[in-house]
């Protein structure tokens, strides 16, 4: 009925935005001005040569990028990219307004899911994260949450990826120290895909690198970016901008600098390989001026991530957002509040890869319990994002007429069909007091721990589907990585 109306506008989902078109344009122009007049340091001679060849003004390691080069790059970035699992199924559509959530990379500590102690990260933790994420239906991509400490230093990037990709079919956002690690990770990605050609058709991971805020690209970050561009590997080039520390304390100023930092990578990637997939974004939050920490729970993180998401969309680029993280040390009310606000805002703004689900202690400790809680919050946020469907069937005027005044809808076929769309909790408590009491008065924390351990003890993941030959080939890459670091150093 409603859909048949002439010139009818339908909201498929809620409308939400921080910035108007005019404001976005103003911020975009601010970025162009910074890139043109302030420039950015690029600690990579070959990269600088490419910039220079394409008309950038240079001053030592400083590169000044003219607006036309930015515009040209934004014209060649792909409209959409699909990321597949290693079994060949499409899993992530990198395009406007599609949000996928996942953990974040390289934390110093990991909360042991059994002893509950905060301790150094171990190799087995990466597998834990991969297996749990594989079992969580609302986690769309995986990062390791760990910096593995019990393998040779400088090879943990390769160990982590090798272990994780075999323990989840959810695509991985990987990271590497240097080009060497990136190359080994790519070898593993190709082995899992069934060869280099197969990977080109169906890329199964994304590589993440990070410029240093403010406006610095160090050698290895740019070197990895160049490697990915050369090999058509989807990649993410996004900074951790610290409001009031490495960037202005004003949100608009932060967006200008953060965008500029990523744009250096976007331009270079498109000069090397026009059409290669690149994602911008990163962690956008503020320096807590009392404690001196980079806050992972500040409400400003939501505003900044949302604003940058809108700027990314304005540029035609996918967004690497942040949510599901917290400043707390252990699971408690604060971690739930911070994660819920972040996930809800990210969902409403439509960031593409929303990372850091499972980040606690302001980005210092990985906590898989937080990731499990986040999974539930994501499912709730999706219901909100799903909005209100309005058509003849959902309007249900005839059902309303049939039931009339008084009575109930529990017998109706319409109810039978549509109640299935209602959200169902897996962790949230809706028991009666008596049932809750009888079941041992469990809190949210208790239920999260039980669910996590249940996954760890009863869910195997896809590891048994990885062919023996593939496992052997991956082991060869790992051995090669250890030799490489022994030979070349860190």
């Amino acid at each position: 009925m409603a859909n048949d109306k002439t010139n009818c506008v339908v909201n498929r989902s809620p409308r939400f935005s921080f910035l108007s078109e005019d404001q976005k344009q103003t911020i975009f122009h601010g970025m162009l001005k910074v890139l043109q007049d302030t420039g950015a340091n690029v600690h990579h001679e070959k990269a600088r040569e490419i910039f220079k060849k394409h008309g950038c003004r240079m001053d030592g390691i400083r590169v000044y990028i003219p607006p036309n080069l930015v515009r040209q790059a934004l014209q060649s970035v792909p409209l959409m990219t699909t990321i597949f699992d290693w079994e060949g199924n499409p899993r992530i559509y990198v395009e406007e307004n599609r949000s996928y959530f996942g953990p974040g990379p390289t934390l110093v500590y990991f909360r042991d899911p059994y002893t509950m102690e905060r301790r150094k990260c171990l190799r087995k933790d990466a597998t834990t994260v991969a297996r749990v994420c594989d079992a969580l239906p609302h986690i769309g991509f995986v990062e390791g949450l760990v910096t593995i400490s019990d393998v040779p230093r400088g090879t943990d990037d390769v160990f982590e990826f090798a272990d994780m990709i075999q323990n989840t079919t959810t695509p991985i956002m990987a990271w590497a120290y240097h080009r060497g690690g990136a190359r080994d990770i790519h070898r593993i990605g190709c082995i899992m895909a069934g060869g280099e050609e197969a990977f080109k058709k169906k890329p199964n991971y994304i590589l993440y690198s990070e410029p240093i805020s403010p406006l610095v690209s160090d050698f290895h970050a740019i070197d990895k970016l160049m490697y990915c561009a050369e090999h058509g590997i989807p990649q993410d080039y996004s900074p951790c901008a610290i409001g009031g520390g490495t960037v202005p304390a004003t949100h608009a100023g932060q967006l200008v600098v953060a965008l500029s930092e990523s744009m250096v990578g976007v331009v270079l990637s498109q000069l090397i390989n026009p059409g290669t997939c690149i994602i911008l974004g990163g962690v956008q939050s503020i320096l807590d001026m009392r404690r001196g920490i980079y806050s992972y729970g500040a409400p400003e993180l939501n505003v900044l991530s949302g604003g940058l998401t809108e700027m990314a969309r304005y540029c035609g680029l996918p967004m690497f957002g942040t949510a599901g993280c917290t400043d707390t040390k252990v699971m408690e009310i604060q971690s739930g509040i911070e994660a819920a606000l972040q996930i809800h805002t990210s969902m409403l703004t439509g960031a593409n890869f929303v990372h850091d689900c499972g980040y606690t202690e302001s980005g210092k400790t990985g906590d898989i319990f937080q990731t499990v809680m986040d999974d539930e919050i994501i499912s709730m946020a999706r219901i909100i994002e799903d909005g209100i469907e309005v058509n003849e069937e959902t309007l249900a005027v005839d059902v309303i007429d049939n039931v009339g005044s008084g009575g109930h809808y529990l017998y109706e076929d319409h109810t039978m069909k549509w109640f299935l769309k209602h959200w169902r909790p897996t962790l949230m408590d809706r028991q009666s007091y008596e049932d809750w009491d009888k079941a041992g008065r469990q809190t949210m924390q208790d239920r999260i721990i039980r669910k996590t351990r249940d996954i760890l003890e009863n869910y195997e993941g896809p590891i048994s589907r990885v062919p023996e030959e593939v496992k052997k080939d991956i082991q060869k890459v790992i051995d090669g990585a250890v030799e490489r670091v022994e030979r070349d150093g860190l």
Binding site: V108, K120, I242, R291, I293, G363, L490
Partner: protein, 212 residues
Amino acid sequence: MSEKLGKIADGLLHGKIKEVAELTQELLDEGMDPEEILQKGLFAGMDVVGKKFRDCEMFIPEVLRSAKAMHAAMEKLRPVLSEESSSKAGTVVMATVQGDLHDIGKNLAGMMMEGAGFNVIDMGIDRKTEDIVAMVKDKKPQILGLSALLTTTMPKMGEVINALKEAGIRDQVKVIVGGAPVTDDFALEIGADAYAPNASIGTEKALELVKG
């Protein structure tokens, strides 16, 4: 004259850089003992700043502004102060180790240490081990602050400590290490004297270490 000392302390608290420097110069011109200006004006003010920061009544940018005012006043005082008095706490050399370009944490720690009365020599980022050792030899600081943000550059901090040993000057300087991936265990493992999880704890540890 003592009224002006109070104004210096108050000016420090409110980060009035120009005013604090001018008042210091005026008192010097009026013939006050520089040691008295230092103790009763500047250190008195910075003690309040330190207390207010610990009590969460002042914020980092305000503390850094106070440190800058302190620095401006010291520029006036240093030429007429004895070597010993010109750095209440001592000298700190700070550097981000080779291969690492990160510096926000190091900068913050350096500025806070300056505010606590240290004479801070910041060598900047990506500094070679031999350069850091040469600086320690040259400036003879009480504290060496080393920073690294990358797991791959962290071992360079151990390398610096070993190079200090080889140069025979390890026992002349206390080494504090910091940076996001650095842990207490790591600091112990490489033989550092202290680990600073953040700038203010780093400053506290530096003060403890110089006290001995």
